[in-house]
Amino acid sequence: MPIRFSAFHKTKDLLYKELTTEFRTRYGTSALLMFSLTTLSAVSMSIGAQSLSPDFLAILFWIILFFSAMAGLSRVFLQESEQGTLQTLRIYASSQPVFFGKFIYNVLLLFALTLFLLPLFIVFLNASVPHLGELCLVLFLGNIGLSGAATLIASLLTQVQGQSSLFTILSFPIILPLLLFCIQLTAAAFSSEGFTLDNRLLFLTGYDVVILGLASVLFDYIWYD
């Protein structure tokens, strides 16, 4: 019992540290938000006054989200490595609090990004969302899966040269099943037809559970030599 409590507290402490350092420097979040805004603007300007089908809207949304995630989610480990604090952390902190603290931070970052992107997306591309509640659920589960995979891959790359380009290459095959699911479900949320949260949502949750569980196990092999 005491051991589990302390792991929980340490995870909280690490998350708090991430939020504090990010809040004071605002290095990562502003770049991330600007990236998504730039991409969205480019798309919107190119499309002009045309209205898009739900499928197309869903695809565009997730492409912008995915590439923004690729731009921003590796910072949790990359910056530590560059600053020299990663080694200090490896000595004093045990693996699971580090993984979950950084994972939760990345989830919060993606939530913030989604909160920023979705309204602008609706406004710029004149999209209608008949099933907002279901859409939020899909985005919630999708962001969790995306963060889980991205956090593990980011940690993998701390010991590798040429880090940033490899991040997308390594993450894409793993995130792709999730991406395809989410695009389908998001398209259904954008369309005016009836939406049933069927087996697909179960698969999404299953993916999240498997990826997160495995990432937690594998992280020990990355953190400890």
């Binding site: 040269q161 095959p173 099943p177 594998l218 092999y221």
Partner: protein, 206 residues
Amino acid sequence: MFFDTSLTALTLAVIWAVFYLVPPAQGLGDLVRIAFFHIPTAWVSVLAFVLSAWWSILYLKTRKIEADALSCRSAALGLIFCLLATISGAVFAKLTWGAYWNWDPRQITIFILLLVYGAYFALRSAIAEPPVRARLSAVYALFAGAAMPFLIFVIPRYYSSLHPEPVINASGHIDMDPVMLAVLLAASAVMTLIYLRLLFRRRCSA
């Protein structure tokens, strides 16, 4: 030596069977013979990946560098077989339905397997120290391996497919002509033996 000779003989026997024993299929005609190359190579590319993941687990548990060498070798062969499967599939698609590529679910799956293999080797080439390289590529292989089943088993059920129905369909009956089935299984067995023979021949230094 004996193994090599008998393997060559078996391969020639299967090739003969594919061209002379198998009757032309309903609808597909003679083109079905490509399937006897395509299906075994696709099967082996998946097997190679599974074995590569298995040796990755072994490496992480025992830290024996031989496990990593086998894992790498298996992945390299898997990549080659995957390429062969993709190309043969594309040729078959062109001849049958007029287009080389249309992101059919099975094509998506095989393409992603290619991406995983490519990413695996990109990762390996970026790490200099052998033990670190072995450990991190093992982690990646396992992580990617966990994501693959979600594609293989789920996507085809959601997208309508131009791909021929799986041989063993939902009701569990085997739908193929018995001769075809026998030759297909023989071709798969021979392909597996070829893969195993190449696997245990040399160690991987990549």
